[in-house]
Each structure stands twice: as structure tokens, then as C-alpha cells.
């Protein structure tokens, strides 16, 4: 039977039969039935006022008010950016609040885990630290972070983390964001009916607004999460539905914020809760994550990931999920009917997000531990209610997670010599051709995981080091690409570097807000020397082959504004206006050295990425990439074999001789 489920994930495909049996349609079925609106998908549907919606197709090149296609497409695009920036930044805002409450001792169960990082952030934010208590510093950092949202004038503090040249470019272009909320509000205002009616000008606000995300809300979300929950270091973990356990209480934490999930992790591990689970006939409590929440707790605790965006309903189909706790973003409303069909208890927790038909247990930091306990208890209580046959696909892949930019620096020299010199050296020498951030969502309009994995496979084979976040990080984990052993699929030069450090060719940098880590890494690479002076000088690309959310558009836009050549897949949402296509590519390239392009064909997307990397190499005067130049490192395998020879046979003065002896022994 050829599956209707358009997915590369065998665990997903395996459960299609269950869904059919239960007459339970999922996202894959709905996508097959409901086609995307052909007008809206090119960006030319304007529904900003009561005179419309105006659909600017065919001979219609102006709306009722006279708005041109370019204006309409630019407005729609900018509103998507504003939506994405709001989501990430609100996440950052909540963490700033949690930090303040923690500092005051008002947040139950929270503490400052990474004092070192607090000091570093305090320094950037110009919060005095000398002779002050950690709590005082933390409160000030939290307040300063919070003030960034309402700030009306000046510039966001974090902009100064960018290379100097980049800051100048922003100032010159007039897109240095003043305050996070202000930029979102202005984006909404300017795209309101009858305000800004020049596509290029409208899109300038999209850029400024997006920077308030990448170098504002998201970056603060990452930093404060590190302060509160610890800066990630590499650890072992697992990916895919096979992490669910038939004989344990399976509790899936799904959504985006780490605040509640951290507490759930803490509570689930207590002997009290484990004992309670046993009293209900389960062998224990098994936590698994989904979407970005998963990546937050994976990076810090190794909590395994059950899957990415398109797997959420499928997880419920296993019949093994006793509770699914969700907070905000990327949660499908379809979870309600699916969980009702099975026994899964769906719990909403955010004061901002309820779902009709789901149980709502509202979360607040003051009672965080108690609420987490109640949630875990509810999950355990639901264990005996399993009714359907439990079918857990035996599909699971081990992986390494937990890379942060702090660790990237550490791993290239240790405590005393950590820097980005080895990476820069490798790029300069051509061992590494370039760096790609392959990130972003799943999208039911294209086969699940297929595009992102094709891109990643091809890039690493071409000596491009890949960093990943979000749903793409999940996918990389599912197919084994987050394992160091996968360096065998990398090009020779990249393999040498992976081998020297002991890393996979694809590095999981965390959740979507952690794309800000990529910005920090790129800034550090640019300032390390030898590769120009700015992010825009680097042989680097950003790609989101299967994007779907507004957040992705916000990320893509702030990448472009930061000097990254950015390529999105699936569908060109600005294709309705060639003028806007031109602005996003050519004009932005001239002004910012970064672009935003939509290339649905994966091969074309890869070619464009490699061509850009090679162009940047040439501009930097670096040697052209040559796949055959390197690869003479290594020899571990031979050494292992030599050790299996009897000592008198180990003639080490000649590789030829000892290789022959090893061969003889075999």
C-alpha cells in the first residue's frame, strides 16, 4: 500500500492505518482535500478593509482603494513579519517577567542556574554587577529586558552585539529598531488601509520590525532561558515516536516556552510522582517533547523528542499518550478531536491560549511547581484509561543535542583557548566551504521532512557545515544527522573538521527563538578575523525549505536584514508582485548584503545556496572550494586494528608494513 501520508518519516507512515481504522483524519488528509487559496498564496488578496477583500488577479491590478499589487503584497508580507515578531517577542517578554519574579523569590521552583551567563548579559545591558547580589543583578537585567519592549526611542541594546559594520548598515538604512512593541505597532499601522503605499517603504518597516525579533525578543528569550535553566552543553538524546513507552505514563510537552516544561521535568522525576505512577500500574513517567518546547528541554535535560510539527496528531494515534500539555504556538486545533477519539488528555496552560474542548489548567509562575504537579498527576491518572490498542512504531534515533554558541566556542579550544579561529581557518582553507543555517517548520503542502533532509544531505556532502533549529532540528535528529558518525556522509574537508572536534556535521542549536544563537555565532565568526568584517561578508546562507509559520517569515527577514542570503521553499508568497520579488532580492542585497528569496524547487534552492557561498568565497579572496583537496586526517580505525595485533607484530615505523600485518590477521 502506498501511503497517503506524504511523509518521509516511517513512524508517521506506519500509523496511517490506525488513523484510517479510527476514521480519524489528520493534517495529511486535510491537506490533500483542502487546496491552498491560489490568490492568497501569491500575496495579492487584500483584506485590510470592509471594501474588499480585493483579489488582484488577471487584469485587476488595483484594489478598490487603488492599492497596487506591490502595495498589497508588501502589506501582507509585513503583517506576517509583525505576527511572527509578536510571537517570539511575547515569549521573550514572559521570560523577562519570570526572571524578575525569580529574582524576587516569587516564582515557585525557579532559580538562577547560570550565574556566569547572567553576568555576561548584565554587562551587555550595562547592569552593574560589582559587589551586588545575584538576585539584584537578575532583577535589574529582567527590568532592563522588559523595558526594551516599551522603549520608544534610541536603539535596542542587543544591536551592539552585531559586528560594527552591520550596525552602521542598519543605521544608514534607518532600520535600527527603537523598541520591540513600537516596531510591531508601527508595522500594523503602516499596513492599515490608506497609510503607507510604497512597497519598498512598507518593507523597510518589515525589516526594522524583524530586527526587533532577532536582535530583540528572540535573543532575550534565549539568554534569559539560559540564565534561568542553564546554558546548554552537548548531551545524548533520542528522536521520534519510538521514544514513547508502552508501560509508562507518556506525557508530551508541546509548544514553545520552557517555563512550565522545566517544572514538569523537575516534578516528573521526583520519587513521589514515580511512586504515584507505579500505584496506577505504570512502570514510571516518560516525558517526551514536541516542537520547540521539546528542543528547550532536550538541550538542557536530554528529554527525548517525539517529533516535529506534523507529528503532533500522529503521536496521539499511538494510543500511548496519556497527556499532552501545550502552551503557545504551532499547536493544531485538530488535537482536540484526535485526542477525544483516543484517551489522550489535552491540557492547555497559557493564559493566552485556550482550545475549545481541551482541559485548561492555567499556569502562573507563582504556583509553577504546584501546577506542574497537578498536570503530571492528571497524566498519571489517565494512564489506566487507555482504551485503544497501543501501537508505538519502533522508530527512534539517538542524537546529540545541546549546542549553544558558548559551547561552540569552548569546543574549538577548551577553557583556555576557546575561539572561532579553527572554524574560520577551516573556511579560509576551504575544508569547510561555507556555513548554512537550515531551519524552519514542517509544511503539509510538501512531503514531511523530505525537502529539509535533501538540502541537509547535499550541503554536508559539499563540505557545508549545517546548524539547525526548530522542526528542522527534529528532522535531522530523526534521520540520524545529529550523530557524529554521520560525518562519514560529509565531504572530506568537513569530515576532517568534525573528526578533529568530535561533532556531527549538523549541529542542533535549539528552538526557533534560538535562531538568535546563529546570529551570535555569525557575529563571532565575522569578528574573529580573516573572513571580512561583517555577517554579510561570510560564505553563509539561511534556508527554510519547509517553512509555514509567520515566525519563519520574521526569522527569514531578520536574517536578510543581518546580511544573510536567505532562501525559503514551499511557495513564493510574494510572487504576485515582481516588484516586491525584486525588492526582497536585489534591493535588499544592495542595501543590506542580505536577501529573502522563495525557491520551491529543492535542487534549485541548493544550487542557489552553493553559488552564493562560492561567490562570497571569491569576494573574500579565499581559495576556491575543491572537494578533493583535503581528507588526509584520521587513522583511528587503523589504530584500533593495530591494537588488536600481538605487541611484537605492531611495527609502527611503517604504515605499509603494519597495514599488511593487519590485513593478514583479518
Amino acid at each position: 500500500m502506498s501511503p497517503n501520508y506524504q511523509s518521509m518519516d516511517p513512524a508517521v507512515v506506519a500509523l496511517q492505518g490506525i488513523a484510517e481504522e479510527a476514521c480519524c483524519p489528520t493534517v495529511f488528509d486535510r491537506a490533500a482535500e483542502l487546496k491552498p487559496c491560489p490568490i492568497g498564496s501569491t500575496g495579492v488578496c487584500c483584506r485590510m478593509c470592509g471594501m474588499g477583500p480585493c483579489r488582484l488577479v488577471g487584469k485587476t491590478d488595483r484594489g478598490v482603494c487603488g492599492a497596487t499589487r506591490a502595495t498589497v503584497v508588501a502589506r501582507n508580507y509585513t503583517r506576517m513579519v509583525a505576527g511572527g515578531v509578536s510571537a517570539h517577542s511575547d515569549h521573550g517578554r514572559d521570560l523577562a517577567r519570570t526572571l524578575i519574579e525569580t529574582a524576587r523569590g516569587e516564582a515557585q521552583g525557579y532559580r538562577i542556574r547560570d550565574v556566569q551567563k547572567l553576568y555576561e548579559v548584565a554587562e551587555i545591558m550595562e547592569v552593574p554587577t560589582k559587589g551586588r547580589k545575584v538576585e539584584e543583578i537578575a532583577e535589574d537585567v529582567g527590568r532592563k529586558a522588559l523595558a526594551q519592549f516599551g522603549q520608544q526611542e534610541g536603539e535596542l541594546i542587543y544591536l551592539r552585539r552585531a559586528p560594527k559594520k552591520r550596525q552602521e548598515i542598519w543605521r544608514k538604512a534607518g532600520i535600527a529598531p527603537r523598541g520591540i512593541d513600537r516596531e510591531v505597532v508601527e508595522a500594523m499601522h503602516r499596513t492599515h488601509e490608506g497609510v503607507d503605499m510604497d512597497a519598498e517603504h512598507i518593507l523597510m518597516q518589515a525589516l526594522r520590525c524583524s530586527l526587533a525579533d532577532g536582535w530583540g525578543g528572540s535573543m532575550m528569550a534565549t539568554d534569559i532561558s539560559d540564565i534561568l535553566f542553564g546554558t546548554p552543553v552537548p548531551l545524548n538524546t533520542y528522536h521520534n515516536l519510538g521514544v514513547l513507552k508502552e508501560d509508562e505514563v507518556n506525557l508530551i510537552i508541546h509548544g514553545h516556552e520552557p517555563t512550565l516544561s522545566e517544572m514538569v521535568v523537575a516534578v516528573a522525576q521526583t520519587p513521589e510522582m514515580q511512586e504515584y505512577a507505579r500505584s496506577k500500574g505504570a512502570k514510571g513517567i516518560n516525558l517526551a517533547g514536541m516542537c520547540c518546547t521539546a528542543l528547550e528541554v532536550l538541550a538542557r535535560h536530554g528529554v527525548p523528542s517525539a517529533g516535529n510539527f506534523l507529528s503532533q496528531e500522529i503521536a496521539v494515534l499511538t494510543g500511548a499518550v496519556d497527556a499532552m500539555v501545550v502552551d503557545v504556538q504551532c499547536i493544531m486545533e485538530a488535537l482536540v478531536p484526535v485526542s477525544q477519539r483516543f484517551h489522550t488528555l489535552l491540557i492547555t496552560t497559557s493564559p493566552k491560549a485556550k482550545m475549545t474542548g481541551a482541559l485548561h489548567i492555567e499556569f502562573d509562575e507563582e504556583h509553577a511547581l504546584d501546577i506542574a504537579k497537578e498536570i503530571v498527576k492528571r497524566a498519571v491518572d489517565n494512564f489506566p484509561n487507555r482504551k485503544a490498542k497501543v501501537v508505538i512504531p519502533k522508530v527512534v534515533s539517538p542524537a546529540i543535542g545541546g549546542f549553544s554558541h558558548e559551547y561552540l566556542q569552548y569546543m574549538q579550544g577548551g577553557l583556555h583557548r576557546g575561539s572561532f579561529r579553527p572554524l574560520n581557518d577551516a573556511i579560509i582553507a576551504g575544508r569547510i566551504r561555507g556555513v548554512a543555517g537550515v531551519v524552519g517548520c514542517n509544511n503539509a503542502r510538501v512531503p514531511h521532512d523530505e525537502g529539509m533532509m535533501k538540502v541537509i544531505r547535499t550541503l554536508i556532502a559539499n563540505d557545508v557545515l549545517v546548524v539547525t533549529t526548530g522542526c528542522t532540528a527534529h528532522a535531522s535528529g530523526k534521520y540520524g544527522y545529529l550523530l557524529p558518525e554521520m560525518m562519514r556522509d560529509a565531504g572530506k574537508g568537513l569530515r576532517e573538521v568534525c573528526e578533529a572536534i568530535g561533532i556531527p556535521p549538523v549541529l542542533n542549536l535549539g528552538s526557533c527563538v534560538d535562531n538568535s544563537r546563529i546570529l551570535t555565532v555569525l557575529s563571532q565568526v565575522a569578528t574573529e578575523g580573516g573572513l571580512g568584517q561583517d555577517i554579510g561578508d561570510l560564505p553563509a546562507v539561511g534556508m527554510a525549505p519547509e517553512w509555514m509559520s509567520e515566525k519563519a517569515i520574521a526569522i527569514g527577514t531578520y536574517c536578510a536584514a543581518s546580511g544573510v542570503h536567505t532562501i525559503f521553499g514551499v511557495n513564493n508568497i510574494v510572487s504576485g508582485s515582481p516588484e516586491v520579488v525584486e525588492i526582497l532580492s536585489k534591493k535588499w542585497d544592495e542595501m543590506l548584503g542580505g536577501t529573502m528569496e522563495f525557491i520551491p524547487d529543492y535542487d534549485e534552492m541548493i544550487q542557489a545556496a552553493l553559488a552564493h557561498i562560492d561567490r562570497k568565497r571569491a569576494e573574500l579572496g579565499l581559495v576556491p572550494w575543491d572537494p578533493e583537496r583535503y581528507g588526509q586526517s584520521g587513522g583511528d580505525e587503523l589504530m584500533e586494528k593495530i591494537l588488536s595485533l600481538p605487541p611484537e607484530q605492531r611495527y609502527l615505523y611503517s604504515r605499509k608494513v603494519v597495514e599488511e600485518r593487519v590485513a593478514e590477521q583479518v
Partner: protein, 762 residues
């Protein structure tokens, strides 16, 4: 790292820290916590510990917190599968090993077990004090090895190490394949002035035993220092390195990162691991890598070739039998050569070993026919010079071949054919640099007293005086000069230099053909080097120390105003020093091809002139002209009455039609300010196609210092022809014709100077 090396180093680190811990406990039980711990005659306590932690260890109890810190740097060995990254962890564990190793040596000193006893048995001794004179019981005759180097010797050697007179040190650990090999390795290092530190053993046998058996003298005087017979004593090499940074780098104890980086950039040391490598050696080697010191092994081990912690490769395996060579001695030589390459040790030759005086003072010296012993080139013979790039493995450093007879048989005053073939290799060498380097042969050879060099390429003309020949100067010495000077002046891009002097007429003819093909190729390439053909210009901000707002934009058709840097030189300079004063400027978009406005240079100049210069027109003197520092070869200024420009040379003290002399004009032209109508330039810019091309080009020149006309007559004539006025030079006035406008105008009228017929310059 490779996982294998990481595993073994981490295992070794865990082991040695544990061992140190046990030894310390025993020693404290035996001697008490206050028992003195000190190395021989040093003010830096236990220097590695002091450097990394800032702790001043003077007694056993002081070592306890050190070992606690070491333990924090330890990590478990990587798993067989799904392992976590290991490089940072291994390097940390390497540092932990160094702390533990030095602690162990400290404990041994407390117990009186260091320096290690050694039976010198009457040979291989170095007389007098072997190590520190104050150390009781020291000296080879007293049956001890050296142990750590004392501060006095550190000062004597260290300063030479960090200022480059001494190229580096080799920490040899283990035992060579044979005594013969051991001796040859050490001799090869000695020949290059490289310090040799000996320690360690393989199955109980050390290179110290080998050298001793062969009667090699060891000691400070011979640059060979036997530290000890076990791996622990290798720590003294790193103690020496650490103290170099403390003493000469002005660092303080505890500034670990700064000390390590100082060593990476200033102290050219490497580890030569001879014989099988055990866990502890791997751990110590990991510690050395943090200093930027790579390891070269003569056995089969995994290689770590990517760069970064060290400047070049981290770990190299050169299984001894697999090294190409006729015999073991040759293999030993190659091994040392490779080790030097891997660390990037630059052999610096300060003295050119030839029998005649050498220096730039002799550059202008002439050898007249009457004084001439022999000449190459000129009327009666052929002579050429040709420099080409080769791969590192294709040539041998310091190989000088004379292919054909010497000049001894040629009668006095006679001539013979000669070809000079210089072959260079280097990691940073590029084909583009060949002509730049080849052009240096002229200066290098001219530096020898009694040797004259004229011309270049296949019109080279070299004379050797009778006096020089009498002192013993021969063809080989030409090779010595070139070898020494290329290393000294271009060490950053050249790692190996091989010279072949060809005198066999048939071979001269053959090689000349090869050389001519190369000249031809370069000509065509140089001709292609127009501003349009490249997409990058270069900056020069060398002079910002005194003209902080000045930026030179150097293009293929406009060289730097000082005349010293053309586009290729800047490119080479950037390659040599990527963060230096010559940075690539992407042209960006061409805004005006006539005046020469490009977005790239505009942005760059604005940024690097601190905002004082908004934009620059590369091809105009009238509009946004390029600024100048003060080093210009010439100043040009508009003479409105003549509808043209005048150019005065730095060498011309006379009054000019502008009413000012060079030195008065210099005040207007320099300082990084844009003054339309005035510009400082390099003299070869005058002959460029792009010479104020926006304002009419060479035809605008109405007056020019006569010295320029003389110096560049040929080039100027060609340029005049190109501009369609072949007799232009005769129409340009100079200071011998007039020094004021009143004299200039009638003269121009009389000659019919084209500027008078051109569009108004304003």
C-alpha cells in the same frame, strides 16, 4: 583531535592527575605539608602552574588546590558510539595533565629526586656547571640530568626566541629508531639554531641514552638540554615557554589565555614524538597543543590536520620507514624539515654567508669594465633570471645547484651565459607573487660588494669584480644570497627556497625558453590587469599612524601615491597579513566609469577616513580627488591659466609655475584632506591609462620636473603615443624652461601644447 587520540589523552590525563594526587598525599605524610617545593633558580615558582592558575607554589600543601583545579579540567573518555564532542574537553584535560606533571616534578624536588640521576660515565659531559651553578650537586659530572632551565639561561635564550633570532625549540620525547638517527635529528636542529629539549623514553630507552652513547655533548653550550628520562620532565619545556611569556611578554601568573596565545604567535616550538606514544605522552601533547605547539610523530598515529589551535596542522604522523630517502640519515633530515614546516618555524638568516661584505649600502655600486672579472649578459653573452613557485614536496630548502662550469676557466674580463632559476614554495605562496618576488633578485644581488646587477628577466646583466672574485666569491654565493634574503624578507610567504645557477649553454637555452613562456604569460596577465578586469581594489592605511583620515585606494591602474605599493603588492601584502593595512575593497557597483566612482571604495573610504571623506573619484583631480598622507612621489596641481596640470617630483627643489615649491605644496596635498585641483601621486601613475582620465589624461600635463622626464622617458613616450600625441613630451615644460606661469604660457603656445585646445578644465 581524533577520537582515538582524545581517548588516549583523556585516559592519560585522568591517570597522571590521580598519580599526582597519590604522590602528594604520600609526600605530605612523609615530609609534612610545609616541605619546600622549588625548581632550580627561578623566580616563577612552578611556572606552568603559576601561568595557568596564578598560584605561587612554595611548599607541598600549596599543590593541593592546584590538583583540585586540575581535577575540574578532567573529562570522561568519549564513548564508542554516539559520542559527545571531545576537542575542548581533551585540551582541558591536557592542561590538567601539565598541572599534574609539574606538581609531580615539584614533589620530586621536595624529595631530592630531581634532577634525575644519570651515569655520564666520563663522556658526553659538558664541562663546568651543567645547570644552575647554585644548585648543589648539579653538573654533569655529578651524575644528574639537567632538570628545568634556570632563569639566567631563560633570559639568554628566551629573548632570542621571542625576537626571532632563535627560530624555535624542539621538545623531543622518546627514543629515536637508532642512535644514528638520534644524532642526525639533533644535528639537523642544531644547524638551524633550534634549541633541543630532551625527555621521555620508550621501554626505558631515551634519546638521552642514544646521544650519550654516541658521544654527543649535551648542555647549554650546545643547545641540547637533557631534562629527564621520563615523560614528566617534558613539562620543563612548557615551563620554559610559560616563562618566556611571563618574562618577555609582560604577562602575569593566571593570565592563561594570554600566555598561551603569546606562545602560539611568538614561540615557535614543536613536539617531536619518537617511538611509540603512550597515554601520558598523548595527554602531554594535548597540553602542548594549547600552547600552539604541534606534535610530529615518527610512528603510525592518527593525524589531525585542520588548523586553528595551532597555526598549522595539529598532529602529523610520519612513520619513519615510509619517509622517502636513500637511507635513515636522509629520512631523519626530512623528518626535521617537515617538523619545521608544521610549526611554521621561520628560518631567519641575518647574515649572508658570502666572502664579500653585504648590505644595502652596496646596492648602488658599479663594476667598471676595467675592474671586472666576469660578466653575464650584456653584449657578449646571455643572462636571465626566473623565479617560479613549486609545491612544498618538489623542492628542497637551501639546495643550491650549479649546473655547468664555474667561471674560473673563463679569461679575465670575459663573459659567459648564465640562467638563475629560483624555485620557492610556501603555504601562502601564489603564482601571482612570482613576478613580485622575481623583481627582488635585482636588489638582493646588488647588495653584495663587488657585484653589479642591472635589468631583469632575460635582459639581466650581472658583473662580478676582480676584487670579489679574489676574495673567493663564486656562483654558489649568488645562490646563498638569494636563499638568505628570500627567507629573511619574504619569510611570511616563502617556506622553501631552492636555487639553480645554470651555466651549461645548452641548458641555459632550454631554461630560457621556459622562462620566456612565463614572462610572456605574465605580460599578458599584467596587461589584462585593468581596473575593469578585477572586481577588487585594495586599501592602504599604512600611514594612518600619522595621517589618521587618509586611505589610499590602490587599483591595477593606479598605484599607491608612495610608489611602493601597486595592486599586486597590496594583494600579496593582504595574503601575508590578512588583518594588515591592505584590505580588499570590493568594487561594488560602478556609479561613474569616467570619473571613477564605485560604491565599494566610497563606503570603505568613508568608514576608514572616520567620515571625513564621503566619496572619492579615482580618475579625477578636479572632483573628490583621492587624499594623500604625505609620502607622495609627486604632487600635481592645476594651472588654470594653462588649462592643464603641472607635476613636481619630490626630488625637484625648484620653484614651479604654481608659485610654490614641492615642500610648500606638500602641506596642501597631504594630511588626508580632499583639495580639488591638488593631488599627491606615485610617479608611475602618470603613465597609466587611468591618469586623471576624467579630466583629459596625460595631455593635460603642461609642466613636469625634468627628473621625471629623464627617469621615465621610455614609459612616458609610450603613454604619449597611446594618447595620440607622440611628440607630447617635447611640448611639456620643465624647470629648466620656466618656473612661473608667465614663462609657461608663451612656451606652450609656441609648442602648440594640446591642453590649450582642450575643453576648459574647470
Amino acid at each position: 583531535m581524533s577520537r582515538y587520540i582524545a581517548t588516549r589523552a583523556l585516559r592519560g590525563a585522568n591517570m597522571v592527575v590521580r598519580e599526582a594526587d597519590q604522590l602528594l598525599k604520600q609526600a605530605i605524610a612523609e615530609l609534612g605539608p610545609d616541605a619546600k617545593v622549588e625548581f632550580t633558580n627561578t623566580a616563577y615558582f612552578l611556572p606552568v602552574i603559576y601561568g595557568f592558575t596564578g598560584r605561587q607554589v612554595t611548599k607541598l600543601a600549596d599543590l593541593e588546590p592546584v590538583l583540585e583545579e586540575a581535577k575540574k579540567l578532567l573529562h570522561p573518555v568519549p564513548k564508542d558510539k554516539n559520542y559527545l564532542p571531545y576537542l575542548g574537553e581533551t585540551l582541558d584535560a591536557g592542561v590538567a595533565s601539565l598541572l599534574a606533571m609539574e606538581a609531580i616534578e615539584g614533589i620530586r624536588f621536595a624529595k631530592g629526586e630531581e634532577p634525575m640521576p644519570f651515569n655520564w660515565a666520563g663522556k658526553g659531559m659538558v664541562g663546568g656547571s651543567f645547570t644552575s651553578p647554585e644548585f648543589e650537586g648539579a653538573g654533569a659530572g655529578d651524575g644528574r640530568l639537567n632538570g628545568p632551565i634556570d632563569d639566567i639561561q631563560l633570559r639568554a635564550w628566551g629573548i632570542q626566541l621571542v625576537d626571532g633570532r632563535m627560530p624555535g625549540f624542539a621538545a623531543i620525547v622518546g627514543c629515536a629508531k637508532s642512535n644514528e638517527v638520534a644524532v642526525e635529528i639533533v644535528r639537523q636542529l642544531q644547524q638551524r639554531n633550534i634549541l633541543v629539549f630532551l625527555s621521555g623514553n620508550v621501554n626505558g630507552r631515551s634519546i638521552i641514552h642514544q646521544l650519550h652513547e654516541e658521544g654527543v655533548e649535551m648542555g647549554y653550550d650546545t643547545y641540547i638540554v637533557p631534562f629527564g628520562l621520563d615523560t614528566m620532565s617534558a613539562i620543563y619545556a612548557l615551563g620554559f615557554a610559560t616563562r618566556s611569556a611571563l618574562t618577555f611578554g609582560g604577562m602575569k601568573g593566571g593570565q592563561a589565555r594570554e600566555i598561551l596565545l603569546y606562545n602560539k604567535y611568538r614561540v615557535f616550538a614543536f613536539v617531536l614524538a619518537l617511538g611509540e606514544i603512550d597515554d601520558l605522552k598523548y595527554a602531554a601533547a594535548a597540553g602542548a597543543i594549547s600552547y600552539g605547539f604541534p606534535t610530529i610523530a615518527d610512528t603510525v598515529i592518527p593525524q589531525i590536520l585542520p588548523t586553528g589551535i595551532t597555526s598549522y596542522e595539529h598532529v602529523i604522523s610520519m612513520p619513519f620507514d615510509d619517509i622517502e630517502g636513500e637511507n635513515d640519515l636522509e629520512r631523519a633530515k626530512r623528518l626535521v624539515q617537515r617538523a619545521i614546516e608544521v610549526r611554521g618555524v621561520k628560518i631567519k638568516i641575518t647574515e649572508v654567508p658570502i666572502p664579500v661584505p653585504y648590505g644595502s649600502a652596496f646596492e648602488g655600486e658599479r663594476v667598471r669594465r676595467a675592474d671586472m672579472r666576469i660578466e653575464f649578459g650584456g653584449k657578449n653573452s646571455r643572462c636571465f633570471e626566473y623565479l617560479r613557485m613549486r609545491n612544498m614536496d618538489e623542492i628542497e630548502d637551501h639546495k643550491i645547484v650549479i649546473d655547468g662550469p664555474g667561471f674560473e676557466e673563463v679569461e679575465e674580463g670575459g663573459s659567459m651565459d648564465m640562467g638563475i632559476l629560483v624555485e620557492v614554495a610556501g603555504r601562502k605562496m601564489q603564482e601571482d607573487f612570482e613576478p613580485v618576488l622575481e623583481r627582488q633578485i635585482h636588489y638582493f644581488i646588488n647588495g653584495a660588494s663587488g657585484v653589479q646587477h642591472i635589468g631583469q628577466r632575460d635582459i639581466t646583466w650581472i658583473r662580478i669584480s676582480k676584487a670579489a672574485a679574489q676574495k673567493g666569491f663564486n656562483l654558489k654565493h649568488l645562490g646563498e644570497i638569494l636563499y638568505a634574503r628570500f627567507h629573511a624578507d619574504f619569510g611570511a610567504i616563502v617556506d622553501k627556497v631552492q636555487v639553480t645557477i645554470i651555466t651549461d649553454p645548452k641548458k641555459v637555452a632550454e631554461m630560457l625558453e621556459v622562462a620566456r613562456k612565463a614572462y610572456d604569460y605574465r605580460n599578458r596577465r599584467l596587461a589584462d590587469l585593468t581596473d575593469e578586469a578585477v572586481d577588487t581594489f585594495y586599501s592602504c592605511t599604512l600611514c594612518q599612524s600619522f595621517a589618521p583620515n587618509h586611505v589610499c585606494v590602490v587599483t591595477p591602474e593606479r598605484l599607491g601615491l608612495c610608489g611602493a605599493y601597486n595592486w599586486l603588492d597590496c594583494k600579496a601584502s593582504y595574503e601575508i597579513n590578512p588583518t594588515g593595512p591592505n584590505q580588499p575593497i570590493p568594487k561594488g557597483t560602478c556609479l561613474d566609469p569616467v570619473k571613477g566612482y564605485f560604491t565599494g571604495p566610497n563606503e570603505f573610504v568613508k568608514q576608514h577616513s572616520n567620515g571625513t571623506v564621503e566619496q572619492v573619484a579615482l580618475y579625477s583631480i578636479m572632483e573628490n580627488p583621492m587624499t594623500a598622507c604625505g609620502c607622495f612621489e609627486c604632487i600635481m596641481m592645476v594651472i588654470p591659466e594653462a588649462n592643464g596640470v603641472m607635476i613636481v617630483s619630490r626630488e625637484d627643489p625648484s620653484m614651479t609655475p604654481a608659485g610654490m615649491t614641492f615642500s610648500t605644496l606638500a602641506g596642501m596635498a597631504g594630511g588626508g584632506l580632499q583639495t580639488p585641483g591638488v593631488m599627491g601621486i606615485g610617479k608611475y601613475y602618470i603613465t597609466s591609462r587611468k591618469f586623471i582620465s576624467a579630466d583629459g589624461g596625460l595631455k593635460r600635463v603642461v609642466w613636469m620636473s625634468s627628473i621625471l622626464k629623464q627617469q621615465m622617458r621610455e614609459e612616458l613616450q609610450k603613454a604619449a603615443e597611446r594618447e595620440g600625441v607622440p611628440d607630447l613630451l617635447d611640448k611639456i615644460a620643465d624647470e629648466t624652461i620656466c618656473t612661473d606661469v608667465d614663462g609657461l604660457l608663451p612656451w606652450l603656445e609656441e609648442k602648440g601644447h594640446p591642453a590649450l585646445m582642450m575643453d576648459p578644465i574647470f
